[in-house]
C-alpha cells in the first residue's frame, strides 16, 4: 500500500518532465513574452538572464521541479500575479464541478444500471441501452449548450453562466457527467447481470430473503467492485472535460484559466494549471486505488 502511494512520485516527475519539455517547444520564450513586442534585444537578453533561461536545459528542469515542490509556479506574464494565487482563486469552481458531476454520474449510473439489470429486456433496459450509446457519443460542450438553450434561454429556470451558487452548478454538472453516467450505468448493468447468476444469490433467494435484500445486500455489493474501477477511470475524463464545460458555461475555474492562458500565450500559467490538474488526477487515482482495498479485502498492493 505504501509502495502504491510512493509510485505516485516518479509518475509526477514524469508528468513534470513531459510538461516541461512540451513547453520548451513553445515558439519564443518567456523572456520575449515578459518584455513584450516593443522590447529591445538587450532587454530580452537581460530578462532571459534574470529568468535563468541562458542556463543548460537540465539545470532549468531541475529548477522547475524544485519550484514545483516549493509550490512556486512563477508569475503570470499577463497579470504579473503569482500563478499560485491565480490558481487558488480559481480552484473552487473546478473542484465543485468535478465532484458534483462525479457524484451525479455515480448515483444515476448505478441506479439506472441496477434497474436495467433487474428488469432485463424491459422498456427501462432498452432506454438505458440507448442512453449508454448516446451518452458516450454526445460532445459535452454541445450537450451543455443544448441544456443552456432549453433551461436558461427558453424556460429561464436555471442561470446559464457564472459560479458560486448551487443553481449555477446544475447544468454544467449534468453536461460534464453525462458520458460518465452512461459508462457507469453500463458497467453496473453488466456486472449486476453476472452477479445475479451466481450460486450465492440463488441460495439467498432459496432461503426466502426478500428480493430487495437479495439485490441490494448481496448482489449490488459484489457488483460494485468493477463499477468502482470504471468510476475511478472517469476522473481523468471529468478533469479534462472541465476545460470544455467551464468554457461553455463561463465558469471561472482552472479549465477556463487554461484556455485563457493559451490564448494569451502565458506560459507560466499554462504550466501551472496543467500541473495542478495532473496532480489532482494522480492524487484522485491514488485514493480510488486505496478505496479498492477497503472494498475488496482480497486485493492488496504488495
Amino acid at each position: 500500500m505504501i509502495r502504491r502511494a510512493l509510485w505516485a512520485i516518479p509518475v509526477m516527475l514524469g508528468v513534470s518532465l513531459l510538461v516541461f519539455s512540451i513547453m520548451k517547444l513553445v515558439p519564443g520564450d518567456a523572456a520575449e513574452a515578459m518584455v513584450g513586442i516593443e522590447g529591445s534585444a538587450e532587454e530580452i537578453e537581460a530578462m532571459r538572464e534574470s529568468l535563468g533561461l541562458d542556463e543548460p536545459v537540465y539545470v532549468q528542469y531541475g529548477r522547475f521541479v524544485k519550484r514545483l515542490v516549493l509550490l512556486d509556479l512563477g508569475d503570470s506574464t499577463t497579470s504579473r500575479q503569482p500563478v499560485t494565487d491565480e490558481i487558488r482563486s480559481r480552484i473552487r469552481p473546478t473542484v465543485e464541478l468535478a465532484i458534483v458531476a462525479f457524484l451525479l454520474a455515480s448515483l444515476v449510473g448505478i441506479v439506472t444500471g441496477v434497474v436495467a439489470a433487474t428488469h432485463q429486456n424491459s422498456i427501462w433496459d432498452a432506454l438505458a441501452t440507448i442512453y449508454a450509446v448516446l451518452g458516450v457519443s454526445m460532445p459535452i460542450y454541445w450537450f451543455g449548450l443544448m441544456l443552456m438553450l432549453l433551461f436558461s434561454v427558453k424556460l429561464g429556470w436555471l442561470p446559464a453562466t457564472g459560479s458560486g451558487s448551487f443553481k449555477q452548478l446544475i447544468l454544467p454538472a449534468i453536461a460534464l457527467g453525462s458520458a460518465s453516467t452512461a459508462i457507469i450505468s453500463r458497467q453496473t448493468r453488466s456486472s449486476m447481470l453476472e452477479v445475479l447468476r451466481q450460486d450465492y444469490i440463488r441460495t439467498a433467494r432459496a432461503k426466502g430473503l426478500a428480493e430487495r435484500l437479495v439485490i441490494y445486500r448481496h448482489a449490488l455489493r459484489n457488483a460494485m467492485i468493477p463499477t468502482v474501477t470504471v468510476a475511478g477511470l472517469q476522473v481523468g475524463f471529468l478533469l479534462g472535460g472541465s476545460v470544455l464545460t467551464e468554457t461553455v458555461f463561463a465558469r471561472p475555474g482552472i479549465g477556463s484559466l487554461l484556455v485563457q492562458s493559451i490564448n494569451t500565450r502565458d506560459v507560466p500559467v499554462i504550466q501551472g494549471t496543467i500541473m495542478m490538474l495532473a496532480v489532482l488526477f494522480v492524487v484522485i487515482n491514488l485514493i480510488v486505488d486505496l478505496l479498492y482495498v477497503k472494498l475488496d479485502p482480497r486485493i492488496s498492493y504488495k
Binding site: 514524469g14 448516446l134 454526445m138 460532445p139 460542450y141 472535460g241 470544455l244
Partner: protein, 323 residues
C-alpha cells in the same frame, strides 16, 4: 473473474497489464479499451465467412456502416454537392432560415450552412482518421516490441506509456496544441499522441499471448530473426483486436478533435470545421439555434455510428463479448 481489480491501477503496474486487460475484456463499457482475447481465434474468425455473417447479424452495426458511408460520400463529393462556396460572405443574407437556395440556412456571415457542413466533414474526417492512424502505427509498434522483447525494453516502453496515461487525454491534447499552436496538423498530432497508450496496451497484451503460440516458438527454434517473426507471425494476429480498438477510437477522436476546435485550438477561420462552426454559432444561440443544432447533430450521428460499428466488429470477432 470480472471482480478482479481490472485496471484500477492502469497507470501503475505495467507488469500485470495483460492479466488486467483480460479481466477488463469482460467489462462491457462502450468506450472500453481492453478487448483482448486469444488473437488466433480473432484471426481465423476474420478469414472465415462466419465473421461477415456475425457482423451482418448486428443490425445496428450495419445501419451505422451505411450512415458512415453516406457521410464519406458527402465528404468526398463536397465540391460537387455543395450549392455554394463555403467561405464566401453574403452579409445581406446572413442568418437566413432554411430555403430552397440555402437548404440549411446561412450563418452569421451569410455563408451557406449546407456547403460549410459538407466541406467541414472533410476536415473532421481528415483529423479523425489521421489521428487514429498515428495512434495505431505508433501504439502498435511500441506495444508489439514491448510485448515481444519483454525485460528492460518492456519496462522502459510501458513506463513511458504510463506517464502519458498519468495525464487526462483531453488535457494532454490541449498541452500539445498550446505548445505547437493551433491548426489541422497539430490537432491530428495532439489527438493521435493522446490515443497512443490504449493501442500500445492492447498490442502488448495480444503480443504476449501470441508469443506463446507454437508457430512462433517453431519460428524461433528454426532461427527466424525477430523482425521477421514480428512482421510475419505476430502482427497479422494482433491486428484484429487493434482494428476494433481503432473503430472505437475514431469515436473518441472526433469528440476530442471537435472539442479542441470548439476551444479555438483547431483549424482557424474561415476554414469550415464542425466544432469551430458550433463555437461560432454560440453567439446566435437565441436567434438562430440551428447554427448550434446542425453541426452538433452531425457530430453525434457520426460518433454513434463509429461506436456501433466498433461494437459490432468486436462482437463478430469475439463471440465471448456478445451481450
Amino acid at each position: 473473474m470480472s471482480r478482479s481489480p481490472a485496471s484500477v491501477d492502469r497507470a501503475t503496474s505495467p507488469g500485470e497489464a495483460s492479466k488486467e486487460e483480460l479481466s477488463v475484456a469482460k467489462v462491457d463499457t462502450v468506450l472500453d479499451s481492453g478487448e483482448l482475447s486469444q488473437p488466433t481465434t480473432f484471426a481465423s474468425r476474420i478469414r472465415s465467412s462466419n465473421f461477415l455473417r456475425q457482423f451482418r447479424r448486428s443490425r445496428h452495426a450495419v445501419v451505422s456502416l451505411f450512415v458512415l458511408l453516406l457521410f464519406f460520400i458527402a465528404a468526398i463529393g463536397a465540391p460537387v454537392l455543395a450549392p455554394h462556396d463555403p467561405i464566401q460572405f453574403d452579409l445581406i443574407n446572413s442568418l437566413a432560415p432554411m430555403s430552397l437556395d440555402h437548404p440549411l440556412g446561412t450563418d452569421e456571415l451569410g455563408r451557406d450552412m449546407l456547403s460549410r457542413m459538407l466541406y467541414g466533414s472533410r476536415i473532421t474526417f481528415l483529423i479523425t482518421f489521421g489521428a487514429v492512424l498515428i495512434a495505431l502505427v505508433v501504439g502498435t509498434a511500441l506495444g508489439t516490441v514491448a510485448g515481444y522483447r519483454g525485460g528492460i525494453t518492456d519496462t522502459l516502453i510501458m513506463r513511458f506509456v504510463d506517464i502519458l496515461l498519468a495525464m487526462p487525454m483531453f488535457l494532454l491534447a490541449v498541452v500539445i496544441i498550446a505548445a505547437l499552436g493551433p491548426g489541422v496538423n497539430n490537432v491530428i498530432l495532439a489527438v493521435g499522441v493522446g490515443s497512443v497508450p490504449d493501442f500500445a496496451r492492447v498490442a502488448r497484451g495480444s503480443t504476449m499471448s501470441v508469443k506463446q503460440e507454437d508457430y512462433v516458438l517453431a519460428a524461433q527454434a528454426t532461427g527466424v530473426n525477430d523482425r521477421r517473426i514480428i512482421s510475419r507471425h505476430i502482427l497479422p494476429n494482433v491486428l484484429p483486436p487493434l482494428l476494433v480498438q481503432s473503430t472505437l477510437r475514431l469515436a473518441t477522436a472526433i469528440l476530442t478533435a471537435s472539442g479542441l476546435s470548439f476551444l479555438g485550438l483547431g483549424p482557424q477561420p474561415p476554414t469550415a470545421e464542425w466544432g469551430a462552426m458550433l463555437s461560432a454559432g454560440r453567439n446566435f444561440m437565441t436567434s438562430s439555434p440551428q447554427l448550434l443544432i446542425i453541426p452538433g447533430v452531425a457530430i453525434l450521428l457520426v460518433t454513434v455510428a463509429f461506436n456501433l460499428v466498433g461494437d459490432g466488429l468486436r462482437d463478430a470477432l469475439d463471440p465471448r463479448m456478445r451481450r
